[in-house]
């Protein structure tokens, strides 16, 4: 029963808090999870991971986009999971920039949103929200019941097929329902020929490869410019 779970979300929304409660639940259900945390420069999450007593690995992407870095390492991560004799690989992404969505067809894609931040901005989140199997709404203790209902209702419009779970990451409420949903998702056999759910942003410009100088003369490759004809248009 092999599964790959991707926990997607912006910085500080509570991805690690969800994992902290989810892993003990999965272990209690006799699964063998292992964890991977992707970050850019530094991560403190390994302290939490250590306390969960499961195999974990940290991937620091350094100068590369962390989401591209993650996708480039998916097959290697799957092999590592096999080597560790685990059945469930949980990957926590770095805080996404809202344009990339490293989820693939074969992953169980879980998008984590902060209830206090998302009431206005859910539409800005793009493929991460619209393409996820599951949406977890954290910090629900911080908003009123009415606001929570409005938030869930608007997320259902953005992604009608996703299952939505309100979670209080401080005390773990809601994680059991989330865990049961994960258990009911189909398993996968292999990561050969898996596909990204959504394209990554197109890139490769001078700045991607280390240019520091500002100005059109130094910009080569795929370069986008603001359309000033549209001033005050929005």
């Amino acid at each position: 029963m092999n599964k790959m779970i991707m926990i997607l979300g912006a910085a500080s929304v509570g991805k690690t808090a969800v994992i902290k409660w989810l892993v003990p639940f999965l272990k209690e259900e006799n699964l063998n999870p292992c964890l991977c945390k992707i970050d850019c420069l530094y991560t403190e999450d390994s302290k939490v991971y250590q306390s969960l007593q499961v195999p974990y690995v940290v991937g620091l992407s350094e100068d590369i986009c962390p989401d591209h870095f993650l996708v480039s390492n998916l097959c290697e991560l799957w092999d590592w999971k096999e080597k560790k004799d685990c059945d469930t690989l949980i990957i926590e992404t770095a805080g996404l920039c809202n344009r990339c969505c490293p989820a693939t067809e074969n992953t169980i894609s879980i998008c984590v949103l902060d209830a206090t931040a998302s009431t206005h901005s859910a539409k800005k989140l793009g493929p991460m929200v619209t393409m996820s199997d599951i949406i977890v709404l954290t910090k629900i203790d911080m908003v009123s019941q009415a606001e929570r209902e409005i938030l869930i209702w608007s997320l259902e419009k953005l992604n009608p097929t996703a299952k939505i779970f309100p979670v209080d990451g401080l005390v773990g409420y809601g994680v059991e329902s989330l865990g049961r949903c994960i258990l009911s998702e189909p398993a996968v056999k292999t990561y050969e020929e898996d596909l990204l759910r959504h394209t990554m942003p197109s890139g490769v410009c001078s700045y991607c490869i280390g240019e520091k100088r500002v100005g059109s003369a130094y910009q080569q490759g795929i370069v986008g410019k603001i359309d000033f004809q549209k001033e005050n248009a929005l």
Partner: protein, 249 residues
């Protein structure tokens, strides 16, 4: 229509099982929850709202008419049955008062809620008037709670109402409760206030994260309540005079 909600015991902060076999709450009754700050009053209310099934920090179970709702339908069930006024003193939603009420009405299947009527209800319990075009984020603590109470009363219309402190933010408690109490509803109020606590026939005493005991109101206590009620009314008059800048004695 549901008739009863039952709580099965969980554990207190020390992991010791709560000392009751079950507590029943019946539709049409008012219950109060009292105890020191940090004793677990709000947690009890949240357990009820979330219809927990051993998956909260307390490990309690909530049954509706004897049955635990399944994990899949819990959110929907809670939404239909329960209105919860938490301790929130602020909205985080970035919308106007009118947009909020319209959206929440739609969420609850009311396509065209009577927005001005709801705002009028809110303005009965807060002296500084709210208007439709105000941004939710700019409302004061009292205005926020007044709007939440009006929303619960007019839009939610749920058979179970959970109130985590009604006295907050200087709103008119009597008028607010009048909007929320209904003979067909089950109402639970968390309170530190003696007068509010004695409104109910049964009060639940919390300690160290667990239910300590349940106390039934005696006949003498009911007389005490009536005394307190008179005192409360005269206090309220004085409070209003104070706010107007009048001399109080």
């Amino acid at each position: 229509m549901i008739k009863n909600i039952r709580i099965l015991p969980g554990t207190n902060k020390d992991g010791i099982k709560e000392n009751f076999s079950y507590i029943d709450f019946n539709i049409g009754e008012l219950y109060t929850i009292v105890g020191n700050t940090g004793s677990g009053k709000s947690r009890l209310i949240k357990d009820l709202e979330q219809l927990v099934n051993k998956d909260s920090v307390t490990g309690r179970t909530v049954l509706i008419d004897g049955k635990a709702p399944s994990f899949d339908v819990r959110g929907e069930t809670s939404k239909h049955l329960i209105a919860h006024l938490g301790q929130n003193m602020r909205f985080v939603l970035d919308k106007t008062v009118g947009e909020f009420l319209l959206l929440h009405g739609k969420c609850r299947g009311i396509e065209t809620p009577d927005i001005s009527a709801i705002i009028q209800v809110a303005n009965e319990i807060t002296p500084e008037a709210i208007s439709e075009t105000m941004n939710l984020n700019t409302l004061s603590g009292g205005q926020t709670r007044a709007l939440m109470i009006a929303d619960i009363s007019c839009i939610c219309n749920s058979p179970i109402v959970l109130i985590d402190e009604i006295e907050n933010a200087g709103i008119d408690k009597t008028k607010a409760l009048h909007l929320l109490l209904d003979s067909n509803k089950l109402v639970l109020i968390v309170t530190h206030d003696l007068h509010t606590a004695l409104m109910s026939e049964q009060r639940i005493i919390m300690e160290n994260g667990g239910v300590k005991t349940i106390v039934n109101r005696t006949r003498e206590e009911k007389t005490l309540f009536e005394e307190l009620n008179r005192a409360y009314q005269s206090r309220l008059k004085l409070q209003n005079s104070m706010r107007k800048g009048e001399s109080l004695a």
